[in-house]
Symmetry: C2
Subunit: 402 residues, 2 copies
């Protein structure tokens, strides 16, 4: 079960030694075909106070007794496995998991940091205030997907670049969505709990257990993860696979995935036995699943949301699950992370919630660690990143956040 391919890529020194001299990047980049012609130039590239070496700051969750596994790259102890490589290039690498409050290690290290690496799994909320504190910041890398823990508009105003490892954990998240759909629809979890509680009550599970086959599933958003979800559900003999997205995925792809597009969200929701959320958190999607919208859904339908917790309204979800308007709600994302001990989603009935884990399997860690290294390598060499990695490109916000 070892994601050896990526681990070995990471450790093999496959990335060549890079120039440590920084030149005005646009001058280099203008030569490169996929460079955005309107990206502004910023004088910060001349003003790094660290000479040739950069200070890279990484914020990851602590693994403590679990850090022994050398493939566990995503934790603070193993820190993406890039320390040796970074230091051999003359850079400094500071790693912490302490990110709460103005006296956190994150805040103390920020002022002279050039490159900040954060993850959605242990989100360091990079507010306007923190961006102001980080006056030497150039690049913010999200090891994973989803950079909404960063104030992207403020980062854009400062002319910074925010990049994420697009695609690194899309299949991990899509798999996990199938898991949560099945867990909810089949009423699996109360059955599991019975076993280690010494119980045996088939009826208490079966009375509201359903098959997924012959049901209608809809995804809100049909980007990378949405499409991988539809691909995975194709074999399940669904009655219908629907998607709502501002863009069509094209007739050919629809046929391939057995999917049908709906152009009105509420029309789609009313048809679905299961709704899966696959959109980024933006001003448009914040609070999308509020009381009113949930009331338009089929009674007893399920929501799976591995996208971002704040896309759903906390109380509306809790009340709908309690009343039976929702058959259940599952996801690994919360409006606040870590979720406070008294978060209502922890204790509502028919929940398939976990801490934020779906995109941080060992396989995904290997991919986003390799992707982060690639981003840093290109940054040091003043090479452009793969286009899809940019969330903010030297002050220019990606289209989905506009």
């Amino acid at each position: 079960m070892m994601p050896k391919k990526f681990a070995s890529l990471l450790l093999s020194g496959a990335f060549k030694a890079v120039s440590r001299t920084h030149v005005y990047p646009q001058c280099v980049a203008k030569e490169l075909s996929n460079y955005h012609p309107s990206a502004p130039c910023f004088s910060r590239f001349f003003s790094s106070g660290k000479g040739e070496g950069k200070k890279v700051l990484g914020v990851f969750y602590k693994a403590h007794e679990y850090a022994d596994n050398p493939e566990f790259l995503g934790c603070a102890e193993n820190a993406l496995g890039i320390r040796e490589w970074l230091e051999s290039q003359g850079h400094t690498y500071v790693v912490t998991s302490d990110k709460e409050g103005p006296d956190s290690e994150l805040d103390r290290e920020l002022p002279d940091t050039n490159i900040l690496i954060t993850t959605p799994f242990h989100p360091a909320y990079i507010t306007k205030e923190r961006l102001a504190k980080g006056k030497n910041l150039e690049l913010l890398v999200t090891a994973g997907i989803g950079s909404d823990h960063i104030d992207l508009r403020a980062a854009a105003e400062k002319g910074l670049t925010v990049a994420e490892v697009t695609g690194s954990n899309t299949s991990s998240v899509a798999e996990d969505e199938v898991l949560r759909i099945l867990v909810l629809v089949r009423n699996f979890l109360p059955g599991w709990r019975q076993t280690w509680e010494g119980k045996w009550n088939v009826a208490a599970i079966a009375y509201k257990a359903h098959d997924l086959s012959d049901k209608v599933v809809g995804t809100v958003g049909a980007g990378r993860i949405g499409q991988l979800l539809m691909q995975r559900l194709k074999g399940f003999d669904l009655k219908q696979m629907l998607y709502y997205d501002r863009n069509s995925i094209g007739e050919e792809r629809e046929k391939e995935l057995g999917a049908t597009r709906e152009t009105d969200l509420d029309t789609m929701l009313a048809k679905c036995d299961v709704v899966v959320v696959n959109t980024p958190l933006t001003d448009q999607t914040r609070g999308l699943f509020n009381k009113e919208r949930i009331s338009k859904m089929k009674k007893g339908a399920y929501i799976v949301n591995n996208a971002r917790g704040a896309i759903a309204d906390v109380d509306a979800v809790k009340e709908a699950v309690e009343s039976g308007q929702l058959g259940g709600y599952g996801g690994d994302v919360w409006n606040e992370q870590p979720a406070p001990k008294d978060h209502p989603w922890r204790y509502m009935p028919s929940q398939a919630m976990t801490p934020h884990i779906s995109g941080t399997t060992l396989d995904a860690q290997a991919r986003y660690a390799a992707g982060t290294k690639d981003i840093l390598d290109k940054w040091f060499k003043h090479e452009p990143l793969p286009k899809s990695y940019y969330i903010v490109r030297e002050g220019q916000l990606a289209s989905q956040y506009l």
Copy 2:
């Protein structure tokens, strides 16, 4: 989420009124093309002590407070929804969930019972002794799939017919297998438990969470359920989908499912990250996954067994999960059901166990209730059953049990 199609079929009176006069069935049946020519004749057909009406005895799990849902057909209270129909035909329908020990209601009702309906979910163990007690028995129907709770050889010796509703819950079980694979491979359950225990520890989950994509899955058995599993896994970008079966599923079907046949079980097991058991429990498969066989598997691989608990050795599985030879074990079947409170599989690490539920979703209940009604209807009319329903056909054991 309502399996309306089947529920309405069941309630619609779609099955015509039937003759209540019993004639020697072979005389009728010989006229019918799909009758097995070597099936013996038995005089019990002349000796029903009940005149025209039959006594039908059903053994189901009690639902208590969960019985309110009229679609919950599989419980003792709703008893497959066939009471009105049976009684309108002049038959008697006795239903119980009391099946343990020689003084159980089952044992008290057996002597004059003609037709016995049992299920794998609340198995009434029909031993040689009980078959002797049921001297008026003609037909034993399994509402579901898997009749190993019946002493099939003894039933055959008595010239009885044992029938099950083949196909009624194959897709339910296959779906549930995908669920258990994902739950184990992705280390989901400790994460769920954290939420309602007020915890937040991503590392404690992620350190041994994997993706299913790019892994090797093998099914032992490629009958109906095995093939439905492979169909469902096709979209998951596996490295390889393998199957071991005495019969090839054919080149075309292999291509359709993206599956490759292995002709040696141990050779296949050594390649698999996940092994799924999809064989009936027979003399050949009892204890198949013993210590020696598990030791031939890849270290850290997972077993999912929704087939029958006794196909795996209880202690061998427990020790392998504890030592890490197995990454985890999941299934809804136990060597003894209900599983005793101290069953070691309840408390071993990395288990995805539940009571026997995978084949008794509301959708599956609708299908096996309709199928049981169909079996009874045909039996009363002396019509042959669909060939695949026969486990013992008037003394003749189905080939997989020979």
